[in-house]
Structure formats: C-alpha cells, structure tokens
C-alpha cells in the first residue's frame, strides 16, 4: 500500500516535470500546427549548454540558465526563420521531415561536441529530502521540478489567455489571414511563440538534467514523453499539459511499482497507445471542426 501511495505521489511530481517538457511542444503545435520532432533534442542541447556554462564560466546556475535561454532563443528563432517558415505552408509532412532531420543533426552534433557519455547537472538541491517517513519519502529535486513547472505553466496560461500578445498569438493560430488583416505580423507571432517555447524548454532541460543522467541521444525518449503529454492533455492546450503530464507520470510509476522498475517506460508507452487509439484528438482536446 505504501508503495502505491509513494508511486502516486512521486508520479504527480514527475508529471509536473513531464508537463514542462511538453508545454513547448504544445505551444508550437497550437499556433503552427507543427509537430516538432526535434523538441527533445533541443531540450537536451539546452541541458548541455547549462552544464557547460556552470562548469566553465559561471558559479551561479541561474546565471548559466539565463545565458543558455538566450542562446536557445537565438537557435530557436534561426530554426523558425530558416527551416520551419520555409515549409510551414506546404502541409504537415515536410515540416515533420525537416524537424526529423534537425533532430538527427542535433543528436550527432552533440555526440561530436560533448561525447557520448552520460552527464548530470549537480545542484545543491539534488540530494535534499523534503521528508522521509517510514517507507514514504519526497525528494527535494522532484518537488522543485513540480513547483517550477506549475509556476511556468500558470504564467504561460495567463500570458496566452489574458494579455494582448496572447490574443495576437491565439488569433494567428485561429486564422492566419484574418490575423494579418488585423495588422498582426503573423510570422513575428511564430517567432515569439518559438522564443516562449525555447524558454520553457530550456528550464525543462535544466530540471531534467539535474534530476536524471542524460546523453546526446536522450532527446528521443523525452520527445515521446512530450508527445504523450500533449496528446493526453489535448494538442495545443497549455493547462492540459499539466493534466497530461500527471497522468503519464502516475501511470509510469504505478506500472513500475506493480510490475517492476523495467516496466516503467513500457507502461507509459502502452497507456499512451491505448489513449491514442481511443481518443485520437486527446483526452481534453476537442475534435477539430472544419
């Protein structure tokens, strides 16, 4: 019983992190109708940047994070301007293949630059236990992940739903031509959405990199998690990612606690496949009207 409670508790906290991993992908999908296959690799790349910056340049991890956010925004904007914007009008397949190509390029570039070995960003909080009571415990890192994720998702939700910029982004995602007719520079909205995505993804990268070991090839695994979160939460729904993340996290850890640790990923994948089969538009997503 205690192990089930532990699994649910840790699953919820892990789900927060998953939601943060997926939120950028959801944002990109919501506004551009594009599935970015390189999403996981971009996150791992940001983790490497933060790691390198703390190891070589800065003492403060926050400073390192800010600098790598800036670098990642530049990379994201370049990717948007030169890769995605040039195929965005040609349907979903070219965009899928371009981001797939980008994913392969990023993975191999990271292997060449950083080597194939596992890395971990060590922070002061990774060893802290919030409490330990009998068989139950809560790690400080997991709690931090969850809190940061919730804060960022709330900020993004407010930004998208309550501000003028957010209305511009939503208008663009709703009807590009009409948005242009309102005087909105829609290509700029895409770039802003990409910058927001990169910021969230970079923070996710730091948290992932300080919670789990990561390799240049880890992006694939996190892409599937991001995809799962977005599918369960509904493509394009920002608050939905939090629910998607928690469902995925709890399922994985319950699977691990019932069938054994090796089955953690497998349970997550299988549940995802079942959900995709039953509700192809996501649990909270609405069916697309056309």
């Amino acid at each position: 019983m205690a192990s089930i409670v532990q699994a649910i508790m840790t699953g919820i906290l892990l789900g927060g992190l998953y939601a943060l991993i997926g939120v950028g992908m959801s944002l990109i999908f919501g506004i551009m109708k594009i599935t970015n296959i390189a999403h996981g690799d971009l996150m791992i790349l940001s983790a490497f940047f933060t790691l390198m910056l703390t190891a070589n340049l800065f003492k403060s991890i926050i400073l390192a994070l800010i600098v790598s956010i800036i670098i990642m925004i530049v990379i994201g904007v370049l990717v948007q301007k030169f890769l995605i914007n040039s195929v965005i009008d040609k349907g979903s397949e070219p965009a899928l293949l371009v981001t797939f190509g980008l994913s392969i390029v990023l993975q191999n570039a990271m292997i060449l630059k950083f080597g194939p070995n596992s890395q971990l960003i060590s922070t002061a909080i990774s060893e802290v236990n919030i409490f330990r009571h009998g068989q139950l415990s809560m790690s400080g890192q997991y709690l931090l992940n969850f809190v940061v994720a919730v804060v960022i998702i709330v900020i993004l939700t407010i930004l998208i739903n309550r501000t003028s910029l957010g209305r511009g982004i939503r208008a663009t995602s709703n009807d590009v031509m009409a948005a242009e007719l309102m005087g909105i520079n829609t290509k700029r909205m895409y770039i802003i959405a990409m910058a927001l995505t990169m910021t969230a993804t970079c923070i996710a990268g730091l948290l992932v990199g300080s919670t789990f070991v990561f390799y240049p090839s880890s992006g694939t695994q996190y892409l599937i998690i991001a995809f799962g979160v977005v599918v369960i939460g509904g493509m394009g729904s920002i608050p939905g990612t939090l629910i998607g993340g928690i469902i995925l996290g709890v399922t994985q850890l319950l699977g691990a606690s019932i069938f054994g640790t090796p089955y953690q990923m497998l349970t997550g994948y299988v549940v995802l496949l079942i959900l995709l089969t039953l509700r192809p538009q996501g649990l909270l997503g609405k069916a697309k009207r056309k």
Binding site: T35, S86, I104, L112, L276, P280
Partner: protein, 322 residues
C-alpha cells in the same frame, strides 16, 4: 499511332536490355572471391535499397509516414538469431519466420495504429517500436539486452551473403513495381492524390493501406534478417534502433519520395557517403541530416524530382498513359 507504339516498344526493349545487363554485372561481381570490399559495400546497398523501397511504398504511395519501421528490421533480425542460434534450425527458416512474424505483428498493431491519422500515426508507430525495444531488453526468452551472436553465419562466404542481399533487393523492387503496375497500384495513386475522391470512386482506403503496410512489413522483416545475416550479432538497442528508419527516410528523401528510382539512387548515395566518412562516426549522419533538410526545403521531390524535370524517366513503366 503504330509508329508511336513501335517506338515505345523499342524503348521498352532497350530498358529491358539495360536492366538485364546491370543485373548480369551484379551477378558476376563476387565470382572468384575477389573484390571483397566492393562486395561488402554492395551488400549494404542492396539491403538498404530494399528497406527504403518499403518505407517509400508507405510514405510515398500510401501516405503512411512511419518512424517505427525499425520494429520490423528488429523482428526479422531476431527471427534469424533465435531460430538458428537457439533452435539450431537452418538459416533460411529465419527469413521465413522473419516475414511471417512481421506480418502477424503488423496485422496486430494495425488495429490501433490505423485509427491514428497523420502525425499521430507517425509517432504512434515510433512508440510501438520503442515498446519492442524495451520489451526485448527485459525479456528472458530473447536473452535480455545481451542478445545473440549468430554463429551459423560465420561459415558463410561474402559471396553467399551478397547473393542473398541481391535477391532480397531485386525481389523488393519487383514486388513494388508489380504492385504499382497492377490495378491495385492505380487505386493507390488515386488515394495518394486525393483520399476523399478515391474513396468516393470505390477505393477501399483501409484495405488498400493495410495491404501495403503488410507487404512492407514482411519485406522489411526479410531484409532485417538479411541485415543481421551480415552483421552476425544482435542486441535490442541495435535491432530496434531508430537509425534504421532514419536511413530509410534519408534515402527516400534524397533520392525522391514517391518514385521507384529514388530509393535506388538514394541507397547508393547513402551507403557510399557512409563508407567515405567511416572514420568519422557521427559526421556522416550529421552531413546526411543537413543534406536531407536542404533537399526537403529546396527540392522536395529529391534527386529524381530534379532529374524528371529535364528527362521523363520511367525505368519501370509505372507512369500511366491515357
């Protein structure tokens, strides 16, 4: 009219002669046991050509962009390894089992997977392949993640593997060509051009796609067995690696998606580039990725698309005439 027909017939005869000469040259190459390097490179070209043809049959003709084709390469490889290594059966049984198991697996996963559309299908197939990767790593029956040496292959000469690979490749191309030239191919192309219109005209979308999926799975399974006949050592991370699909995707995109000639050219380029950059692991994939991105943006129909703009190439008589 008769002149046109006769000139077409002459063209067809020339094409046939060219194909026979090419095939004859390919058959002669390994004779005498020389040209070891060329033989080993061609083995890879043949096998990659076969799996790329299958990926193209799905992505280029049936609108099924899959990132999970590695599932069938792995199943084929494991069929070969298990039957020869664990049960001591002759190697050819591995190929049969590879095809059968792949088809059965494809049939089973088609039920959920075919409910998914577009990008959901793409990522769905990937998740299925990832499931196999995880499953095989924790499954006692397949010796966990340690995998197997396929020691029966040690006795094979490079020439023997070469002919197996050649047969698989020729077989794959023949299947695709016959398929596309048949009435089935016509409905396939109608479906690719306009799904809704094709359905109204009586094309059974689900059945048509499923048949393609099963054929592609079977041949990818056989080619997977061929690949591991050559590699002789199998583990889950290598067998179910996304890099198989990456290779297929790059070959098809570079050569020209939706053409039979495209994967042929693409496979030659892919294998040669990999050989040239052999001593810089990672670099070849990096360069390949950059080339693929540039091609998708600038020439979405690949090399064959560019070639077709100047010459109307139709090596296999697939294009329809009215």
């Amino acid at each position: 009219m008769t002149e046109k027909t006769s000139s077409r017939r002459t063209k067809n005869i020339i094409k046939l002669i060219v194909l026979i000469v090419v095939l004859a040259v390919l058959v002669v190459i390994p004779i005498g046991g020389g040209r070891i390097r060329m033989t080993s490179v061609l083995i890879l070209v043949f096998l990659y050509m076969a799996i790329a043809q299958m990926w193209n049959l799905l992505a280029g003709y049936s609108g099924l962009v899959s990132l999970g084709a590695q599932a069938f390469v792995g199943l084929g490889g494991y069929s070969l390894a298990m039957l020869s290594q664990v049960y001591g059966l002759p190697l050819w049984t591995g190929f049969v089992a590879g095809a059968v198991i792949s088809v059965i697996f494809a049939l089973i996963i088609s039920m959920p997977i075919f409910k998914m559309k577009g990008v959901y299908f793409t990522v769905g197939t990937w998740i299925v392949a990832e499931c196999l990767l995880v499953l095989f790593s924790i499954w006692k029956f397949v010796n966990y993640s340690a995998g197997y040496n396929i020691s029966a292959t040690y006795k094979l000469t490079p020439a023997a593997i070469y002919y197996v690979a050649l047969a698989i490749c020729v077989g794959a191309i023949v299947v695709v060509v016959l398929l596309l030239r048949s009435k089935f191919g016509l409905s396939l192309m109608a479906m690719r051009d306009n799904e809704a219109a094709a359905e109204i005209r009586g094309v059974k979308l689900y059945r048509t796609k499923l048949i393609c999926f099963l054929i592609a799975s079977a041949i990818t399974g056989i080619a997977g067995a061929g690949l591991y006949l050559n590699i002789a050592y199998i583990t889950p991370p290598s067998a179910f690696n996304i890099s198989w699909t990456v290779a297929m995707c790059f070959i098809v995109v570079i050569g020209g998606i939706g053409t039979v000639e495209g994967p042929i050219i693409g496979a030659i380029i892919y294998v040669i580039l990999n050989q040239l950059l052999y001593s810089f692991p990672g670099f070849s994939m990096l360069i390949m990725g950059v080339i693929a991105i540039i091609i998708i943006i600038l020439a979405p129909k690949g090399i064959m698309g560019v070639v077709n703009r100047f010459f109307n190439v139709d090596l296999f008589g697939i294009k329809r005439r009215l």
